[in-house]
Amino acid sequence: MHPMPIKHSFMTRRDLVGYAILAAIIFIVFPALLEPFRLNLFGKYLTYAFVAIGLVLCWGVGGILSLGQGVFFGLGGYCMAMFLKLEASSPENTAIQSTPGIPDFMDWNQITALPWWWEPFNSLAFTLVAVIVVPVVFSFIIGVAMFRRRVGGVYFAIITQAIAAILTILIIGQQGFTGGVNGITDLRTLNGWDIRTDEAKTLLYFVNGGLLFVVLLIAQFVRKSKLGRLLIAMRDQEDRVRFSGYDVANFKIFIFCLGGAFAAIGGAMFTLQVGFMSPSFVGIVPSIEMVIYAAVGGRLSILGAVYGTLLVNYAKTSFSESFPELWLFGLGALFIAVVMAFPNGLAGLWSEHVEPRLMRLWPGAANDTAASTAEKTPAE
């Protein structure tokens, strides 16, 4: 028995086909079939996929289960929302207020001047940097505090959950500065460009799709690099990796920050496409939902994360439209079915049932399959 030599190329032919299919779906099939309203909805779903991809890297590959990814999604979204809100709060638009020129919710809370930390968000360039940097710095602090002390597993999950809860309470409590439970609403233009029209929404959909592919390729690169293999090793046997002389904490911090950055991009795109941001994306429930997207997609599969997100959200929308009183039960049944029948999610369903049949029709790709299955099979 000679083991098949495992190739570590950036992308196998099999991967390439997967990406090409996804690209065709996102850039050709959806825009061709969906009316602008539905296309915008799918654009919204895809913003969650950024988070799910980050979770595949952190959780599926790295074994770090974060139940607080909503925090980074929210921070990215809030940074973008602050810029858009300032632009929408020009003195002309807010002439009716006691203090024109500040966001309406500040005026309602008797704040008479823009807080200093809102000032920089008048600049688009600063905002675009902040969308990434703020969540990354925050995740870096959490990562250093946790991983350096070797906090991991369930404890890490609980702490991320607590952070999500704390941040939600903070945002709701400081409503004069954050818009409170209402969130930051009524966003209109991006540098003078009206983001509410159908044309703008369609363009934003494509920008969103493009960014999603950038993120997918970064994730693919990390996954196939030495770093990716180290992460898998850490997930399965952390001590061995440590004894081999690697600083485990640094790798964990890096991948956690990367996941945070992905989530933040998703959050910013969400704000642009949906037109508001609220603390209901920051808390525990949305964070867990995001883990479910990754689980349904198959937590080891980067592409699966995208499909999982689309499936769950589409099911959510269509169930709730068809059965407004019963839809939650339907959604619950879907999760149970996926976990019971396909523990590896959609990706598992594909590689165990669909792909083998395709391979019989197309034998040339068999070598690639063997290479990629070697990386799967989690230890847990």
Binding site: E35, P36, F37, N40, L41, K44, I96, S98, D104, F105, W108, N109, Q110, I169, I172, G173, Q175, G180, V181, N182, G183, T185, D186, L187, R188, R196, V274, G275, F276, S278, S280, F281, T317, S320, E321, P324, E325, W327, L328
Partner: protein, 423 residues
């Protein structure tokens, strides 16, 4: 035939005549007076592509029927369905039966925005009855303004808003607060007030208005404390201790949701019995619906400031309560917001028939001045600012969970969503 454009409850009678002839008029509400659809061709009454056919018109119902808000919003959904059924029994609007598409906002503000957009863009509904919390309204507002939808919003709320695409059928803050404070000052001699509330925009804005009114417009009165607690907070013992120390004449409470249960139970447990009136407990956030959760015995004796109580004694209300119970069961209670939600479809019908069109722009134009003499709360009229003229009433909670009405303003109170001197 010129008369056919007017529905029974749009009348040009003066208010006095209305009150005098109230019985006769409310009887006429249940007398079907058919408008025939063929007199109003679809291409005339609908020039903007709304979901209107020769026989039907579609509206949306957008409330939370799942999640934490479901318990509050269910009453509104029931009231709206009752109103739609009654309107259909009378022949509908412009001879067209109302059909509705119900969507679930799921207590989640982005979901509200998504569903609102779906109702307007895909279903082309002619109007929407919906939303409950301010957060959900703020989330859908840009959608309604962008796609020129028309929303009937039932909840009493903080004001500071006046959208051309919304009719606010509940009270804005001044309508609920000012008359109640004056009443407690004049009839009970109350001078000192302790304000407290849940920590979000509505209680804060309401208490701001209360404070301004107490300090600037009520002689010799003052606020001795003001505090806020997060939504869902259940430990009120520290504030109850402070209240006992400062001995205010009135506890002015704007606690919402599940916190209410804890607050009133702990208040009674700490020996502050609202029936003894020292201090007086005055709230603007507890309707009959909330009392079901709090338990009548825990809030017995407290006063609430609303525009509607289930126990109102007038023929409109008796008919409404009976119809509501016939449709939804004898156990049901009807709170202030439920009644306001019931007004939505009726106000819409009146405005459409006044306009002779379902087009949103025409309905908006026709809305100010629309009167309902058949409203359970009595007589209401739509103001230029899209809010309703309505009375302020004070009720005293009884152990059986109902309110006994102890005061009502003599006249309708003008809605003033941007009150001067209260900012």
């Amino acid at each position: 035939m010129t008369d056919t454009k007017k529905s029974p409850e749009i009348s040009n009678l003066s208010r006095r005549t209305v009150l005098a002839g109230g019985a006769a008029l409310s009887a006429s509400l249940f007398t079907p007076k058919m408008l025939r659809a063929q007199d109003f061709p679809t291409d005339v009454v609908n020039t903007t592509g709304l979901a209107v056919t020769d026989t039907t018109v579609t509206c949306g119902i957008l409330h939370s029927i799942t999640g934490t808000m479901a318990i509050s919003e269910t009453g509104s959904v029931q009231a709206e369905k009752l109103a739609i059924e009654q309107i259909n029994a009378q022949g509908g609007i412009l001879g067209r039966k109302i059909e509705f598409i119900q969507e679930d906002g799921a207590s989640d503000w982005p979901t509200f925005a998504e569903k609102a957009k779906k109702l307007l863009v895909q279903d082309k509904v002619a109007s929407v009855m919906g939303c409950w919390t301010s957060a959900s309204r703020k989330a859908v507002l840009p959608v309604f303004e962008q796609y020129n939808g028309f929303l009937y919003y039932p909840t009493f709320y903080e004001g500071l808003e006046q959208s051309p695409n919304v009719i606010y059928t509940g009270q804005e803050a001044t309508q609920q607060i000012i008359a109640g404070l004056d009443w407690v000052n004049q009839t009970k001699g109350a001078k000192t007030f302790y304000l407290l509330g849940s920590d979000y925009i509505w209680p804060r804005t309401s208490n701001k208005i209360a404070r301004k009114h107490i300090e600037n417009f009520m002689d010799g009165c003052k606020v001795v404390g003001e505090e806020y607690y997060p939504l869902g907070h259940t430990q009120f013992n520290s504030v109850i201790n402070k209240i006992r120390l400062r001995k205010p004449d009135v506890i002015y409470a704007i606690v919402v949701g599940g916190s209410n249960v804890a607050f009133y139970k702990q208040l009674t447990a700490a020996g502050i019995d609202p029936t003894e009136e020292s201090p007086i407990v005055l709230t603007i956030s507890v309707t009959e619906d909330e009392i079901r959760g709090i338990g009548g015995e825990n809030i017995d004796g407290a006063y609430a400031c609303m525009k509607y109580f289930q126990s109102l004694e007038n023929e409109n209300n008796q008919a409404f309560v009976k119809a509501f119970k016939d449709m939804w069961g004898d156990e049901i209670v009807i709170g202030d917001v439920t009644q306001a939600a019931y007004l939505g479809p009726w106000l819409w019908k009146a405005a459409v028939e006044q306009a002779g069109s379902f087009d949103v722009d025409k309905v908006r134009e026709a809305s100010p001045g629309i009167e309902l003499t058949s409203a359970p709360e009595g007589y209401v009229k739509v103001h230029e600012n899209h809010h309703l003229w309505s009375k302020t009433r004070v009720g005293r909670a009884k152990a059986d969970g109902q309110y006994e009405v102890v005061f009502e303003t003599a006249d309708l109170v003008e809605p003033d969503p941007f009150p001067e001197g209260y900012q």
